[in-house]
Amino acid sequence: MANPTPALQAYQHKVLQMRLSSAIDFPAHVHLETMAQCNAACDFCPYPGLVRKGTVMDDALIAKVVNDLADIPRLHTFQLSPFKVNEPFLDKRLFDLLDEFTVRLPNASLTLTTNASPITFDKLQRLSGFSNIGYLWISFNDHRQAEYESAMQLPYRRTLERLQMIHKAKAEGWLPLRVVLSRVGDGTATDLAFRQWVEMNFPLFSASIFPRGEWIGQVATARTSPPPEIGCVRWFDVSITATGVVAHCCMDGAAAYPIGNVRFEHVLEIYNKPEFRQLRAATMIRQEVDPCRSCSFT
């Protein structure tokens, strides 16, 4: 085993610290895919091949999940992301759901990842009314028009206009939440160029370069190094798909490795199933378990 880098050591330390926290009993992060629909078709995402594409989680099931999450002690703060493999702003219920989460789950920090193209001025104004939104993460991926449109299958001009509108709102001071422009990096000079482009054009946003993932075999990618011999913070997540099936983790986009179904089981019951809990409580490195042994996510 090669010596892990300082970054990987820090990651492993975080995993071990989470073991000694309330996240051992209650999820640190819940993904709730209210609707399996996206307007993009990114080449780094499993969405284009998703079997459940178009599935909408019914209101009753969402209410049941919220009830389950309300059983988490208020003392335990967690992250709630109302999406999984989808574009959350396409769901017309989004803001009503954010309202309900705010009232029923005051210990949840809401986080949104989007491609930004469906964010209209009205939606942005509504979004600005929530003080419990941890961040707005915009998957932008390429600052060059041709490459952007090739990677995401979305019109570059429209997205750029959305970014300008959001940045203006921040500049005017009425959108206090943190905004991140992210790129699925390829390790080339383009990663740095992207970061510089963000700093130059959208100084009030942060830039993030995220390594391309293979989504545990669900997206083709050229692997450059073996998975690191460390644990995983995603063992502390619950990743609920629009069908109600709970995927193994956020990387299990297709829910090919299900750990339960919120339609029939309580969220906390699923989270604390012995085999899943064992990951959090006693597994040191991901190579010890499937499907994690092949995953490079950090």
């Binding site: 000694l20 926290s21 309330s22 051992i24 009993d25 002690p73 208020r74 003392l75 335990h76 703060t77």
Partner: protein
């Protein structure tokens, strides 16, 4: 009598160093309540660090229930969770005229006999409010089991009219010398902003005075271990007059004025 950031940090450090008896019978002079300068979520996470696995979720949920229902007396209840987290006491007995219904309403100015001894006795912000302070320290001595631990946390500088007394470092070292206590730890503290400085001996404070590092309102916390051999309480003679202090301390006695 409150669990402030000082108590929180100090007792957590002591727990991490296994310097406190776990599962002990504990006597509190002054029933502790929760001061509120430490985020209760920090305590919640420490439940998961220190409470045995079998009862940590239950303890966490109990703390959650306390802060959610916000009933009268909740600050005492949170303090109980704090002690449960760091000490897991077998039983706690408190003496306090202003505590909960369970606290014993006894006058610490007078001799007290609870009929048993405790492995841990806490005097956190209490003795300074009792005029007959010698009796308080005798009561603590008498109720500490042989080899038991006594923790004092009392005003040192400032705290004008907070209580009858402030306590100098020599008080603790002379108390320890007279009664054969081991000084396990001594810490200079300030509450706002939070500051804890370990005192390696009675001379440490002299250096701090010379460096003008004594704050307007400070406290000294001392952890003492009673000797294994039981003995009657002895009122100390001040170390300087007993020629029991170092030359540095004796010189400071003459010059720091």
């Amino acid at each position: 009598m409150a669990i402030t950031g000082i108590e929180y940090k100090l007792f957590k450090l002591l727990r991490e160093q296994n310097a406190l008896p776990l599962g002990a019978e504990v006597l509190e002079l002054g029933e502790a309540n929760w001061y509120g300068d430490v985020d209760v979520r920090v305590l919640g996470q420490d439940v998961y660090r220190f409470v045995p696995e079998a009862s940590r979720q239950e303890t966490f949920r109990r703390l959650d229930e306390i802060i959610t229902t916000k009933r009268p007396g909740m600050l005492f209840e949170i303090a109980k969770i704090f002690w449960q987290t760091l000490l897991q006491p077998r039983a706690m007995t408190a003496i306090d005229f202003h505590g909960t219904e369970q606290a014993l309403k006894l006058d610490l100015n007078t001799p007290i006999d609870l009929g048993r001894q405790f492995q841990l006795v806490l005097n956190l912000g209490t003795a300074e409010h009792v005029f007959n302070v010698a009796q308080v320290f005798k009561t603590i001595h008498d109720h500490a089991a042989p080899g038991g631990v006594m923790v004092h946390g009392l005003p040192f500088s400032g705290w004008v009219d907070h209580g009858f007394f402030n306590f100098n470092p020599t008080f603790y070292w002379d108390l320890a010398a007279a009664n054969g206590y081991t000084v396990m730890a001594a810490v200079y503290t300030e509450l706002n902003p939070l500051k804890l400085i370990q005192l390696h001996g009675r001379e440490s404070i002299i250096e701090m005075v010379k460096q003008d590092q004594i704050g307007k309102n400070s406290l000294i916390y001392v952890v003492l271990r009673k000797a294994v051999q039981e003995s009657d309480f002895r009122i100390p003679f001040q170390g300087y007059y007993a020629n029991a202090v170092s030359k540095e301390a004796a010189d400071a006695w003459k010059t720091l004025r």
